[in-house]
């Protein structure tokens, strides 16, 4: 349960013509994670399928755009798969190109409609404004003998620059209505002079003309009616286009589904990319397969390939460790915790899967810091009730709630009341020193387990010297244990002890010596780094151990908050008392619940993962038959 699943490196050699079939078989099995290194380049110099990849990518892009425009849903599952030949892909791509050309024209029509709808709104606003101006609107209409006159809109951010540029061309700009995105302007200047200069500037500023109708004032209702008619016409036009689009989409639905299926089946060959190479009529594919699936892979290839093939299987080499994908064991129970671990990183291949330890310690620490039957019960109920919305996270919330309930029984606390039931263990507030001692011992145990895991992880990943002499290695652990031994002796009234001193100094010297050996720098820098890192090991153990005192601190804090709530409630009448108790509990639940979750996560990440978890692994992503297989 603690070690990731063992992986094997496989090399499949087959005829080049069989590579598409091989890719399909691998995708159907869903166990093959392509090795992206171009292995055996000298023996297999060519990456096959360049044209095929180009066609596929173009076809997929076209289909994505069509799907977005027509609102195509997900593809229903299908089972009969076949190899897609390049000629078929080419025909499909061409057909999709024609379909998209039509689709693009619909998009352009919608865009034009949107533009016109915006113009209608702008025109309405501008004309309302014109109608209220104390100006003869006849002056703004038609050609003038001596003046150039332009009425229209300009994007707000362009107004100032345009005004100044127009000034150089002898024109003036007046703004009369400032909108959110555009400003309505009137541009005036002498006719005939520098007119040719104007058009490019107006174009650069995205000026749009807004003609003023002659009967705006005399018959405003005509204008209003005209605008409404225009609006209605645009709505009708939009509905017509949408209807055409839906009808067209309906006629194509089956063919588009076929297209989706074809691309899903063509996807694996493209996804293999440079993990697949060839030399003439011989091709090769490399990748990683879980050890337990190798036999099934070989059998399936044997059944489905008519031509001979060769499957070579080997263990990962030491130098490949960072490239081997890690397949984390999936269990329903631990699934939500795996999501939290993924936030930190994927386990390096070979290192211990931290999921079980993380799950158990997280749940225990949360419960210890937030022990209350009532509040824990509410958390568990919330996780259960909202499980559809929270999905995997819902189970996580339920676990935390149940842990809180358990510790609630151990502390004898229900909604902050400690008189209702007798604690199975101890009420934290009754003996804070004891709680702090328990938290300290818990922390020591946690750090010991984390250190042992760190040593194991370094060993299995080939870092044997670090496993023994590194900052979280065996010598470092001896330093910690001898320090604890000495401190224990002192707590019992004795001195630190000769043997603990010798062990502590000896292990410290070993750590120092290793750091000295590892640092390649001038003498002064070497001394500095070795001393500081050795001190950091000691300080790290001290601070990490003391950090776990917060487990006790928060359990006491929880009780203290309850006391505060009851102190306020006591000052109220009966109704006010219960309202205060309810609101106080809600406040504690949300605020302290959130804080405790963050503190627990912090302990796990910082005191735990930082000590033993590399988290720099590569996630196992097998080739699959899916719509996104090529991404």
């Amino acid at each position: 349960m603690l070690t990731p699943i063992r992986m094997k490196h496989v090399l499949v050699q087959a005829l080049t013509e069989d590579l598409p079939r091989v890719s399909l078989i691998l995708a159907e099995l869903g166990v093959f994670d392509p090795d992206d290194r171009s292995v055996a380049e000298d023996k297999f110099p060519t990456i096959p399928g360049g044209r095929y990849r180009e066609l596929f990518n173009q076809a997929q892009a076209r289909l994505d755009k069509i799907a977005r425009l027509l609102g195509l849903g997900p593809l229903p599952p299908f089972h009969a798969v076949r190899v897609i030949e390049e000629s078929e892909l080419e025909r499909l791509n061409s057909w999709l190109g024609d379909i998209w050309a039509t689709g693009s024209s619909y998009e352009e029509q919608f865009r034009r409609l949107l533009d016109q709808e915006r113009l209608v709104v702008q025109r309405e606003e501008s004309l309302k404004n014109f109608a209220s101006l104390n100006v003869d609107l006849g002056l703004l209409q038609g050609d003038k003998q001596f003046l150039n006159l332009y009425v229209g809109t300009v994007p707000r951010e362009n107004v100032r620059q345009l005004e100044e540029a127009l000034g150089l061309a002898g024109h003036l700009l007046y703004t009369f209505l400032v909108g959110v995105e555009t400003t309505n302007v009137i541009i005036v200047g002498p006719r005939g002079v520098q007119e040719d200069d104007l058009q490019p500037v107006l174009q650069a500023a995205d000026f749009r003309a807004l003609p003023v109708p002659p009967d705006l004032r005399s018959q405003p209702e005509n204008i209003r009616r005209e605008i409404q008619e225009r609006r209605a016409a645009l709505v009708r036009e939009r509905q017509e286009i949408e209807a055409h689009l839906q009808s067209w989409a309906g006629s194509l639905r089956r063919e588009l589904e076929d297209a989706q299926r074809t691309l899903v089946m063509a996807g694996p060959f493209v996804r293999l990319d440079n993990s697949m190479r060839s030399a003439g009529s011989l091709g090769a594919v490399t990748g990683w397969v879980p050890e337990r699936d190798v036999t099934r892979l070989e059998e399936t290839l044997g059944q489905r390939l008519a031509n001979p093939f060769l499957l070579t299987v080997r263990d990962p080499l030491e130098e490949e460790r960072s490239l081997v994908p890690t397949m984390m064991r999936r269990t329903r129970m631990f699934a939500p915790f795996q999501d939290l671990i993924r936030q930190y990183g994927i386990p390096r291949y070979g290192e211990v899967d931290p999921t079980p330890l993380f799950a158990i310690t997280f749940v225990l620490m949360f419960g210890a810091m937030f022990g209350d039957i009532g509040q824990g019960g509410l958390i568990a109920l919330a996780g259960w009730f909202y499980r559809a919305k929270l999905q995997r996270f819902g189970r996580f919330v339920v676990y935390l709630g149940l842990s809180s309930v358990t510790f609630g029984f151990m502390y004898g606390s229900i909604f902050g009341y400690e008189e209702i039931i007798h604690p199975l263990w101890i009420a934290p507030i009754s003996d804070p020193s004891y709680m702090l001692t328990v938290a300290l011992l818990w922390g020591i145990g946690f750090i010991l387990v984390a250190s042992l895991i760190s040593i194991y992880n370094h060993m299995v990943t080939g870092e044997r010297l670090k496993a023994i002499f590194g900052n979280h290695g065996m010598m470092s652990l001896f330093l910690y244990l001898s320090g604890l031994w000495g401190m224990y002796r002192m707590s019992q009234g004795y001195d630190f002890g000769t043997l603990p001193t010798i062990l502590a100094l000896g292990s410290l010297a070993a750590v120092f010596g290793f750091t000295w050996h590892e640092v390649k720098a001038p003498l002064g820098e070497r001394i500095l780094v070795a001393v500081i890192e050795s001190m950091e090991v000691i300080m790290g153990y001290v601070s990490n151990t003391l950090s776990f005192l917060r487990v006790a601190a928060f359990s006491l804090n929880h009780m203290a908050l309850a006391f505060a709530v009851f102190a306020i409630a006591e000052m109220m009448q009966t109704t006010g008392h219960w309202i205060t108790v309810v609101l106080g509990n809600i406040f504690v639940l949300i605020l302290e619940g959130g804080i405790v979750t963050i503190q627990t996560l912090r302990l796990e990440y910082y005191e735990g993962f930082a000590r033993y978890y590399f988290g720099d692994g590569r996630e196992y992503r097998p080739l699959e038959l899916s719509a996104r297989a090529a991404e």
Partner: protein, 358 residues
């Protein structure tokens, strides 16, 4: 910018990085270096890896490697920054995103195939978030314009549509893209506060003075745009070439009059410049000198970091020019001209040290 420890960290980083900038002696030596020397001295291992490939792809690979060099340094420098300071420096890096945007637009307007356009694009990190795959996969100019309208470049999408419908050429559109970029830089510098604001405005102003002067001269006297059209494409600088001055300069009828009308330190430096290329070389020297002064003496860590990045990019452009010259087997004199070094025929350009006093 942030806490004093962040300032100290950033200042230290900039000081360490500043040792990578090319001094005059190194620039002088560049035209004499072969490809192997360039690869060894300036970490251009890509040159050796790409040997034997056609010149075009080699140059593209070198250019990408140089861009990644400056972007990796930017990532280190923005680490201790946050808020407006980080916004500003990240926005500066968007100029590389604009290379890709312009290549895409040009390619689509000219009907190039997807693979041809792709070969002209740089592979940029995720934080320079132009969705160029979505733009690349558009199948017509109208579709490209619709994509632009959905993204952060919607402000220029309207102009892009007019350009396509009426002109079918991209020069004005590219000018609008550049203008949008520099206007964004000025706006973000204004959002800073205190000494950071004052000092970064100097850096942005220096950069923009050079860019504005070159645009002004080219728009007016090479492309023969009208004063109003040329002015509209400029971005008023917070330093020498501010709004009112630009309004005067664009109206002048000849290049010589424009150079004479520049404010006195610039007009002295430009005296006798016989071509726009010569003006550009001299402006580069002035900008470079002043930016070095800012790196050496400015109290603002952000301004120093931005000044460093501007200079570093200019240095890497010089390196690229030399690599390009070597691969295309150009004459040394052309290389010296491209690097802004003195040639026997050109008038005296100010050195960086002289320029720092302007």
């Amino acid at each position: 910018m942030g806490t004093s420890s962040s300032q100290v960290y950033l200042n230290t980083r900039v000081t360490l990085f500043a040792s990578r900038l090319l001094n005059e002696e190194q620039v002088e030596r560049l035209p004499r270096l072969g490809l192997d020397d360039l690869a060894k001295l300036y970490g251009l291992a890509i040159l050796q890896q790409e040997q034997g490939f056609p010149v075009g792809p080699q140059l593209r690979a070198v250019e990408s490697a140089l861009i990644h060099t400056v972007l990796n340094e930017l990532l280190v420098l923005i680490r201790p920054m946050y808020g407006e300071a980080r916004e500003l420096v990240t926005h500066w890096a968007r100029k590389f995103e604009l290379f890709n945007l312009k290549a895409l637009i040009r390619g689509k307007l000219n009907g190039l195939r997807e693979t041809e356009i792709q070969s002209n694009l740089h592979d940029l990190p995720a934080y320079l978030a132009l969705p160029h795959q979505a733009l690349l996969r558009t199948e017509s100019v109208l579709e490209l314009l619709r994509q632009l309208e959905r993204g952060q470049y919607r402000a220029i999408a309207g102009q892009a549509r007019k350009v396509y419908e009426e002109h079918r050429e991209s020069f004005l559109l590219e000018a609008a893209i550049d203008q949008h970029y520099y206007a964004g830089l000025v706006k973000r510098a204004r959002h800073l506060s205190g000494v950071d604001r004052d000092e970064t405005r100097k850096v942005v102003g220096l950069h923009l003075d050079r860019v504005n002067l070159m645009w002004l001269l080219r728009y007016r006297f090479t492309y023969h745009l009208s004063p109003s059209e040329a002015y509209y494409q400029l971005v008023p600088s917070p330093r020498q070439l501010f709004r009112d001055r630009l309004l005067v300069l664009v109206n002048l009828p000849t290049r010589e009059r424009v150079l004479e009308a520049l404010p006195s330190p610039l007009s002295q430096a430009m005296a006798g410049a016989e071509s726009i290329a010569e003006v550009e070389r001299r402006m580069y020297a002035i900008t470079s000198g002043n930016l070095r002064t800012i790196i050496a003496y400015s109290p603002s860590a952000v301004a120093r970091a931005l000044a460093y990045l501007v200079l570093r990019e200019l240095d890497l452009k010089r390196l690229f020019a030399v690599v390009q010259g070597r691969l295309l087997e150009l004459d040394d004199s052309i290389l010296r001209l491209a690097l802004g070094l003195q040639t026997p025929d050109s008038a005296q350009a100010p050195t960086a040290a002289q320029a720092a006093t302007l």
